[in-house]
């Protein structure tokens, strides 16, 4: 056990060091490291996830990883022949996802990664494995928002530069007073102390926050479907073999019920009604 813990600590340190180098732009040694881990089955597999999204991809204070994306990635890795202890988790910040993949720093990325054409120009996707919609999170006792038009008189919060924030500014509710914050936690604080009326982003992310132990009973989802976000698994462009294998793994995961169970486990506590598993559209 002790050995395992030390190993985990070392792995974390390595991941941190690699992230730091990747930021500096010099990715020489990171690339060679990932190259070594992409080889035979006895090696490790490097998977990119979010470290800061409860319910989807979260690094807990004691160094474990949990969430729906983590469960999906673990399942896919198992189908590819890697045991959970052979997985090395790597933080995939939204802006860095394409480069992590094309540099070979990660094998694949499962991190609330919506499939779109601009991204497909740089990477390939497997899946989708999840259909999310842009939605609103409000205080549990607030029932003043029932449709999108109501937003024009409301104060909203979202994350700086995110697709959800842009949708609000450009299409959905141009007159809404939008507060853009660095992260969803700041938005939650603002929502809790009533300086904003609603927090908007993908309903999966919102459900993840609402399902957190410390937030239980405080917030609720409104249930508007303001956009369709198909989450896919990002992988290196042109790697048809891996794409086919991941698609097969995803199909199997839905068929044997682990997909449904993973959603119930991670997002269920928020009273979140998920869509049925989406049809695989990429690559097949």
């Amino acid at each position: 056990m002790k050995v395992l813990k030390t190993g985990a600590a070392v792995a974390t340190a390595v991941v941190l060091a690699l992230t730091a180098t990747a930021c500096g732009g010099g990715s020489k040694d990171t690339a060679s490291d990932a190259g070594a881990s992409g080889g035979s089955k006895s090696d490790k597999i490097v998977i990119g996830i979010k470290f800061d999204q409860p319910g989807l991809g979260l690094k807990t204070p004691d160094g474990k990883f949990e969430g729906f994306d983590v469960d999906v990635a673990t399942y896919v890795a198992k189908e590819l022949g890697y045991q959970p202890d052979q997985i090395e988790w790597k933080q995939a910040i939204s802006a860095e996802r394409e480069n992590l993949i094309s540099n070979g720093d990660v094998k694949f990325i499962a991190a609330t990664y919506s499939i779109n054409d601009k991204r497909k120009a740089k990477v390939d996707f497997a899946g989708p494995y999840f259909l999310a919609h842009q939605d609103l999170l409000v205080r549990a006792d607030d029932s003043s928002i029932t449709k999108v038009e109501d937003l024009n008189k409301k104060k909203l919060c979202s994350v700086t530069g995110s697709t959800s924030a842009q949708n609000i500014k450009k299409d959905l509710a141009k007159d809404a007073d939008l507060l853009e914050q660095g992260g969803y936690s700041e938005c939650l604080t603002a929502l809790e102390n009533k300086s904003v009326d609603a927090l908007t982003t993908d309903n999966s992310i919102l459900a993840g926050y609402a399902a957190q132990e410390k937030n239980k009973g405080k917030f609720k989802l409104v249930g508007l479907s303001m956009s369709n976000e198909n989450y896919g698994i990002g992988l290196k462009k042109g790697d048809k073999d891996l794409q086919t294998k991941i698609n097969a793994a995803l199909k199997k995961m839905v068929a044997d019920g682990s997909w449904e169970a993973a959603i119930k486990k991670n997002l269920g506590p928020a009273g979140y009604k998920n869509e049925p598993a989406p049809q695989i559209t990429e690559g097949s």
């Binding site: 779109n116 601009k118 120009a121 104060k155 530069g161 842009q166 507060l179 853009e180 660095g182």
Partner: protein, 224 residues
């Protein structure tokens, strides 16, 4: 590679204009506040000296991100102080100017204090001998000479301020860095082109500032 600029989807000039506005308002504010602080730090009143020293050392060593997010979370959202702003957009801009001024003022103060040290003691002594008060000595004799000595360091502070305005994106001020985040979110296939555009934009803002103020510094320097 740069075809996304033609889509009309991004208001690049508008975003940089907000950056310029942030810089100008904060520059004026921090010049005034920095001068007041410098006056305090060299004043004969111990209490004012103590306040000046404490303020400069505290604020100068606090990360700017902390100050800006603190002003948003603490002042605006918790205490409800919105500086007269109606919407988050207005409030955010004003809070950002406030935080940038509070922060940059300390650097202006220290630059100015080093300028004051270049003024020969005899100047102040002669002024005192003429019967001028401390305030008169400072504003009529010492500061005018001090300012002329520190134009070049102040240019550095101004350039740093221009770049520091990007931190305001953290509280949702729609300046260049915020637009860059939007573009990175949407234009995954042209990541480095986006970075390049914004790097170039900031060079266009800061290089002329440095050149111009460098030239001014040479022209007005007190020859001793």
């Amino acid at each position: 590679m740069f075809d996304f600029l033609d889509s009309g989807q991004y208001d690049l000039l508008g975003a940089f204009w907000v950056t310029v506005q942030l810089t100008l308002y904060s520059a004026v504010g921090s010049l005034i506040w920095g001068t007041v602080l410098a006056g305090m730090r060299v004043s004969p009143v111990p209490l004012m000296r103590a306040f000046g020293t404490a303020y400069v050392n505290l604020v100068r060593n606090t990360p700017l991100t902390l100050l800006i997010i603190g002003s948003s979370l603490g002042l605006s959202q918790t205490l409800g102080i919105n500086l007269g702003g109606e919407t988050f957009k207005e409030t955010g801009f004003r809070l950002a100017v406030l935080a940038l001024t509070a922060y940059t003022g300390t650097f202006v103060c220290e630059a100015l204090r080093s300028g004051i040290n270049t003024v020969p003691v005899g100047q102040a002594e002669a002024a005192r001998a003429l019967g001028l008060s401390f305030f008169q000595v400072l504003t009529l004799i010492v500061l005018p000479q001090a300012f002329r000595a520190v134009i070049a360091p102040l240019a550095n502070v101004l350039i740093a301020l221009t770049k520091n305005t990007t931190v305001a994106a953290a509280i949702g001020v729609a300046e260049a860095a915020l637009l860059m985040k939007e573009m990175i979110e949407n234009e995954a296939d042209a990541l480095f082109a986006v970075f390049g555009i914004f790097a170039l934009g900031f060079c266009l803002l800061t290089l002329p500032t440095g050149l111009l103020l460098g030239w001014v510094a040479k022209r007005v320097a007190v020859k001793r």
